[in-house]
């Protein structure tokens, strides 16, 4: 399940389940969005991006959905694996502005 406490929101799933990580963004003028994965001791790594003129984009085992009406972004991971355990960040940008990152969600995958 999902929990929000003093620390990072955490989503715990079983191996093989589908995971959905949600993100609320703040700037209605943002024209692209990116999901990053950060494993322990490493820097954030690009997963997938989506432009504001799209509402869905698929990659390998991942799908990003964008709902501009409610300024909501989600990352769906199919058949989650232990190697997917990490902190996931959404980031928003527009034009030449620097990326602004969301707060992050920790995904824990148990075998």
């Amino acid at each position: 399940g999902e929990s929000v406490g003093l620390h990072l929101p955490t989503l715990s799933v079983q191996e093989g389940d589908n995971s959905i990580i949600n993100c609320a963004y703040s700037n209605s003028a943002s024209d692209y969005f990116i999901w990053y994965k950060q494993e322990s001791g490493k820097g954030p790594q690009f997963i997938i991006d989506i432009r504001s003129n799209m509402d869905k984009r698929q990659g390998q085992r991942v799908t990003v959905l964008l709902n501009k009406t409610v300024k909501h972004l989600s990352l769906q991971i199919a058949a989650t694996q232990p190697g997917d355990s990490a902190v996931y960040f959404c980031a928003e940008g527009s034009g030449y502005s620097t990326l602004t990152f969301g707060k992050g969600t920790m995904l824990l995958v148990s075998p």
């Binding site: 692209y32 820097g43 991006d49 960040f89 030449y96 620097t98």
Partner: protein, 112 residues
């Protein structure tokens, strides 16, 4: 072969000291960044820099200064270190100021 490399990976130092963190990218990107990640994993932009301009986040204390000897390097110099500077600092780079960034593996700074 690392695309964005930072040194050192760990840095432990005393309050009041001056230290630098180095960053190099071999991707041919023209814009580089420094982000600070706090204990709650929140990533906050500190600086962005390309050969045309430096953009400073106004919340960054002026004890922090980026130095770029060339477009492949953006070092971070910190004067008079304070306990609250303890964090993980990430360097990143991209083409122009838009699109996906490539991050380094981070420098964990601990001020004691």
């Amino acid at each position: 072969d690392t695309a964005v490399s930072q040194t050192p990976k760990y840095l432990v130092t005393q309050m009041g000291n001056d230290k630098s963190i180095k960053c190099e990218q071999n991707l041919g990107h023209d814009t580089m960044y420094w982000y600070k990640q706090d204990s709650k994993k929140f990533l906050k932009i500190m600086f962005s820099y390309n050969n045309k301009e430096l953009i400073i986040n106004e919340t960054v204390p002026n004890r922090f200064s980026p130095k770029s000897p060339d477009k492949a390097h953006l070092n971070l110099h910190i004067n008079s270190l304070e306990l609250g500077d303890s964090a993980v600092y990430f360097c990143a780079s991209s083409f122009d100021r838009g699109g996906g960034y490539t991050f380094g593996s981070g420098t964990r700074l601990t001020v004691v």
